[in-house]
Amino acid sequence: MSITLDQVTKHYAGAPVVNDVSLDIGDGEFFVLLGPSGSGKSTLLRAIAGLSGVDHGRISLHGRDVTHVAARKRGVGLVFQNYALFRHMTVADNIEFALRVRHMRARARRERRQELLRLVALEGMDDRLPAQLSGGQQQRVAVARALAHKPEVLLLDEPFGALDAKIREELRRTIRQVQRELGITTVLVTHDQEEAFAMADRIGIMNQGRLFEVGAPHELYARPATRFVATFLGAANLFLARRTPDGIQVGGKTMGAAERAPGAPEHEVVAVVRPEEVELAPVREALGSRYLGNGVVDEVTFTGALERLRVRLDDTVRAPLLATGDVDGSTALQVTRTRHAHRGFEVRQGQGVAVGLRRVHVLPTPLSSFTACAPSAVRADALTHQPLLAELVARMKTRVAVRIEPALGREAEPCEVQGEFFGTTVIAAEGDNALRAEWLLRRGVKDLLLLPEHAAPPQRVLIHWMGDAARSATLAVSASVLRHVPAEAVYVGIFPGHSDSERHSHGMRELLDARSEAQAAHGLEMRTELHFGDVAQELARRLAEAPAQMLIVGITEVQHFAGGFRALLDSGRWPVLIVQRGAV
C-alpha cells in the first residue's frame, strides 16, 4: 500500500474536522477525495502532506510510519489551488527549488528541469516569471515543481479551482497523463463530482469529517450505500419504500425483485431513483418500465444534451418522496431525458404524464424515517420539534410522521395497537420512560429513540449490545446515525464481574472483533473500551462523565433489558436509541 491511514482524527476547537478516517490507497492509484466544503477533505490531505498534525491515528507512506515526520522529510509533492509559485523566481528556479535544497549539481538540475518541462508541455518557458504565464501554465509549473524531487506521492488540493472550464479540461488530461506515465500514487481533493468521475480510479466521499464510502466511480453512482452519497453524486430521487417478500414496493406497486433473501419480514427502506431512470409517457400503456403513477410537469429546462424536468406526482400516488436536497425543499420528482426521448414524446409545462421507474436502488441503511409517538397529538407534535430529532431529520433528508397511542405505557389495559410500526419510533423522556419503552418494544417496535427535551446532537456516541443476535443490527444503526452526526463512536464492551488477566484478554479480543466487523461490514470507525461490572451501571457511569453523549444499545429480548436499564432510562438525561433484534 502506498498510503495507509489508520483512524486518523483531527480536532479543531473541540469539534472533529477529520473523524476516524481509515483508508488504503494502492501503488500508482489515482484516488479522489470528494466532498462539500468543510467536509475535512483538505485537512486530511494536509495531514498526509505533514502540514498539519493529527490528534489521533497513524499515517504511513509506503509502509513507513510518517505520523510524526516533518513535511519536508515525507517525500510528497503538493499542488495548491492558487499555484503557490514563488513569484520572484523564474520558472526554472521554481522547478529546481527542491533540487537546490538537496544540493543537486547544476547540470543534473538542468536535465531534470528540462525533463519535467517536457512532461507538462512547457518547453522553452524556463526564463519566464510566473506573472508572465497564464493560470493554466502556472499550474503546470506547480505540478512540475511538485514532481522535481521524485516524490512517492503526489497530492493535489483543488488544483483546477481557479481555472476556467476549457483550461481545466486540458490540464485534467495532462495531469492524468503525467500520472499514468510516472505511475505515481496520487490523491486529488475536489468538491466537483464531474472532476472526480473524470479522473479517479477510486473515489472516497467525505462529509462532516467522516469518510462515507469508497469505491470505483460507477459503483458509487449506481449503488450508493448512504443517502448522502446518493444525493451528492449526481441528482437522486429518494422514496420511502417497503421491502416485501415480493420485492421492493414504491407507492404500493412492486418495482423490482427483492434484492435480499426472500422471507425476511416486511420493513421500510429508502429507495434511490436516478433522474435518468424515470420514464415519462403520454399514457400508462405506452411506458416501457414499471408504472408508478400519474403526474403533472411542473418545470422544463433545456440544458443542451439533456432536458431536465420536475414532475409533481398525483396525490393518489402513495409514494412518500423525500426532499431531494433542493434549495426550495420541494418534493417534485426530478427527471432527465435525452434528446432522443424528447423527440419521442414532447412535453410542456402543466401537461399530465404517466410516470414509470426503470431502476430502483435500495439503500442498505437501516434508518428510514421517524415516527413521533405520544399519547396525545399535542405532545407528539411538540416532540417533532425536538432539536436533535429535527437535526437528524434534516440531515437524513427524511421525515417525521406522528402517531398517537392514547394507551401508551398503560400496561393494565390489554390494548392492541393498530397497524405496524415502521422506521424509528421516537418518544420523549418525561418520567416513566422504561415503562413506555417496554410497552412499545413489546408491540413490535424495532428501533426506539428516547429523547430528552433539550438533547442536542451528541459529541460522542456510546455503543453496546446485549446478545450477539443484536450485534450486526446495532452496528448498522450506529453506522447510519454516525454518518449524520459528527460525533465520536465508542464501543463499550462490558463483562460481568471483576477484571482478571484471562478475562481481560478475552474481552480485548471481543473488542477487536467488534471493531473490525464495524469497519468491514458497515464502514464505521469506532474506538473501543473495556469495562467490568453491571452493564447498565457502567454505561450510566460512562454517560455521566462528559456532556453531550448518546447511547445506542442493542437488545435481543425486552424483559431482562427493561429490568436492568430502568434507572438509566427513567433518569431521562441522555438520548438512548434501542435496537431490538431477536431470534424471532
Binding site: L51, R72, A84, R87, F97, A98, Q132, H149
Partner: protein, 278 residues
Amino acid sequence: MSFRKASVLPGFGLTFGFTTFFLSAIVLLPLAALVASAGSMHWSDFVRVVSSPRALGSYRLSFGASLLAATINVIFGFIIAWTLVRYEFPGRKIIDALIDMPFALPTAVSGIALTTVFSQNGWIGRFLEPLGVKVAYTWIGVTLALTLISMPFAVRAVQPALQEVQRDLEEAAETLGARRVYVLWRIILPTVLPALLTGFTLAFARAVGEYGSVIFIAGNLPMKTEITPLLIVIHLEEFDYQGAAALGVVMLAISFVILLAINLLQAWGRRRHVQAAH
C-alpha cells in the same frame, strides 16, 4: 498616462492641475525659497558655513544615527510585524495599537521619557552605567531616540506585505524539502523586500528631520552629540538666517540623494520582479 480612461474623480486636467498647484505651494515653493535664501550668500561664506568642523560633525551624527536607526527598525520592525501578523495571542490588538504611539506623542515628550529612563540614575541607565555604557548624552542616546520615533514607519510598511505572503508559499517550500531558515531567506525575505525598503526609506526620512526628542537626550555637545537640525536652530537663534538656510540646503541635498538611491533600487527590484505585464 491615460487621459481617456473614465474615472470616479473629475477629469485629468482638473486633478493634474490641482496636484501641480498643491505640490508647488506646499513643497516646491518653500524649498525654492530656502535655496534662494542660501543662494544669496557669497560662495565662500556658504562653503565656510557648511564645511565647518561643527557642521561636518553634525552631518556625520545626523545621517549616521538616522541610517543606523532605520536599519535597526527594519530588522526589529520585521520581527514585530511578523509577530503581529502571524500569531494570535491575548493582547495582540493592544500591542498593535501601541506601535502607533510614537506617532501620536509630541516628540519632546518622547525625548524627556527616554532621558528619564536612560540617564545615569534612570531605570535602565543605572544598570548600564557600571558596564561602562553611557546612553544619555552620547550618540547612542541620539540613535535610540531616532529609533523610537521612526519605528512605526518600518512596522506599518512591512505589516501589509507580510499579510500578503501566502502561507501556501511557505508550505509549498516545506513540502519541497526546505528548512525554515531557508524558507525565510529564499521565500519570505525576497517577497517582502520592497516593503522593507519602503519602511527603511520612511524611517530614515523621519529620523533625519527629527529635532524634538533628540535635543533632550543628546546633551548637544558641539562636534559630538549635536545634530544638524539643532545646529540650524542655533543659527536661527543668532539671526543667521542665511547660515541656517545653507545648512538646510546641504541636508536637503544629502537626503535627496539617499532617498533617490533607495527609490531607484526599489524600482530596479520591481522591474526585475514583474519584468513586463505583457
